[in-house]
Symmetry: C2
Subunit: 335 residues, 2 copies
């Protein structure tokens, strides 16, 4: 079985964006604020949005199950207030539940959290609990920078985040560390902000004792861990200079990278340096890079090919395709 | 000949830091502000600071010339005012000139710019010109984020920076894109902020026509280009989706990466994916990572070994060790 740990509902029916546009318009003119009930999307619309996109690609590429969450770039926690974010998160999460209900063999849900700049992460625990207990979700996406490129929150290792971590531990769900769109013109979202956040989070974990406080807390750092595998020697050396534990020990049960790295040499490096128990198959299709690589004739984000094209043993490939995901997402039922 | 394009004076005599401490104390209590003349460092102190550090390592590793600039993490453009930054830059640059005067075969200067948050980059042109014309320097370090981790300046591709670029072009000197220390607790300087800045700058270049406006403007993105080579497929795909030129074409005469990547698999990836005409040998010794890798028995930052250990031809190695640096730094005299 092949589990893709990183998929977003990037192809949701246009009604969803219309709702969001009205919600944003409502920030200036409250009369335009839509009610959640005003958003109507039919099952057929949902089917149509997936059949020609994620489901088609699952079939073509031969993957089975996608761990599926709302579109990351659209979370935009920096827009509006905490209430804006809560409404938007509930709408997006409810839609993911409908996807999973229509295609229970193909998708399992991960939620967007109703984060908002300056608002305690504890306030996201209610929506996390609703999604896990009521909607059957198995994890969440945690934005380390709800300000959208201004980085005004404390580091992920600060006690600021602990109340949310307590809920994650109680529910036994991991978080993918995933920023959203950037409102800082310095940072292109998918070309800079995403990877910077991955790199930043790793270094925060490296320099803290967070996992002594939360031995079962688990994070997936997406996009192959940002810059980290390429600079594995730098990080090994920094850990050594700073008298921190070796990277392998720090990551062991707590920090995982996905395989959203869109070329063979990158995947080869990832699999060479990072412990294979800490790598989860992911593609983020249909996502940041949608084209076909003219050199290979295949989609850049068809990461399954790169893993298959690597020199790993069949057992190691199975870990990455399935086994590791089952350890990180214990709420994923055996199917 | 082996030219190391990336070295900072990290081992300067303690008097320099005492001057800086007094300067910072003077921001609160002007009576403590030191005069530039009050800083006295003898030639012997300079020799001593280098003989047991950079010069020793040059000899041990078999490199010849280091393109040498003030300590990057100490630039700290976010501290104090424009005047603070100007004073500090002049002191640091003058000290680099003395180093180069004492060891003209071993060091050639690159300057720190007197940037300051919110201050037009044009104001740095005077110090750049002084360093190049009067002190014989061959380039500068340009901080894309003088705010130190808050990223409040416009992107490097904004016209905001053009007056400084005009001076760079006039003087025919390149800039290394190099941030300094971070006052944002999210970003560890050498473990996150540096690499994030590298990644960010590359994506800014990818999405702009800057080099149409300045065909001879040249930037070195240090630390192997941040996350870029590891995500080369992602960037190729983004360029394609965004209808931008191929990466090789964008970089051609304008964007270069150094080899400050501290393990063999990272260097192998860099040399495999990035055009070899766009890679300059660099080690950043004595810098971010000072330890010895117990797996190899050699310094992590002894990057010459990794290049020698790669599968490149002798001609290609010569490009990286010398030829490319001479193209990027035309003011580097043939010796």
């Amino acid at each position: 079985m092949i589990i893709d740990c990183h998929g977003h509902y990037t192809t949701a029916p246009g009604e969803l964006q219309k709702f969001r546009d009205a919600q944003i318009a409502g920030l200036k003119d409250p009369a335009q604020t839509p009610s959640r009930e005003s958003l109507t999307i039919s099952d057929d619309q949902i089917r149509d949005s997936l059949e020609k996109a994620q489901l088609k690609l699952q079939r073509e590429r031969g993957t089975d199950l996608t761990i599926f969450s709302p579109r990351a770039s659209a979370m935009a926690h920096h827009i509006g207030s905490e209430l804006t974010s809560l409404e938007w998160s509930r709408v997006c999460n409810d839609l993911i539940e409908r996807v999973c209900g229509l295609y229970p063999d193909n998708f399992v849900g991960v939620c967007q959290l109703p984060q908002s700049p300056g608002v305690p992460p504890a306030n996201s625990a209610v929506e996390l609990e609703r999604c896990v207990r009521d909607l059957g979700f198995i994890g969440c996406n945690l934005n380390p920078d709800p300000s959208g490129g201004h980085w005004t929150s404390p580091p992920l290792t600060d006690r600021h985040w602990y109340p949310l971590y307590e809920k994650m531990v109680e529910l036994d769900v991991p978080a993918m560390v995933h920023v959203s769109s950037s409102c800082n013109p310095n940072f292109h979202a998918t070309g800079a902000h995403y990877l910077n956040a991955d790199t930043t989070a790793f270094m925060q974990f490296l320099t803290s004792d967070l996992f002594k406080d939360f031995p079962t807390l688990r994070f997936i750092i997406p996009h192959g861990g940002g810059a980290v595998p390429f600079h594995w020697g730098r990080y090994r050396g920094l850990a050594q200079d700073l008298k921190r534990p070796p990277l392998e020990e720090m990551m062991k049960n707590n920090v995982f990278f996905d395989t959203c790295v869109y070329h063979q040499p990158g995947i080869d490096l990832l699999l060479k340096v990072v412990p294979l128990d800490n790598v989860l198959f992911g593609s983020e299709m249909v996502g940041a890079v949608r084209g076909i690589d003219p050199r290979s004739g295949h989609y850049y984000d068809d990461t399954k090919r790169y893993i298959e094209g690597s020199s790993l043993s069949a057992d190691d490939k199975r870990k990455i395709f399935e086994g590791n995901a089952r350890r990180v997402f214990p709420r994923l039922k055996s199917t």
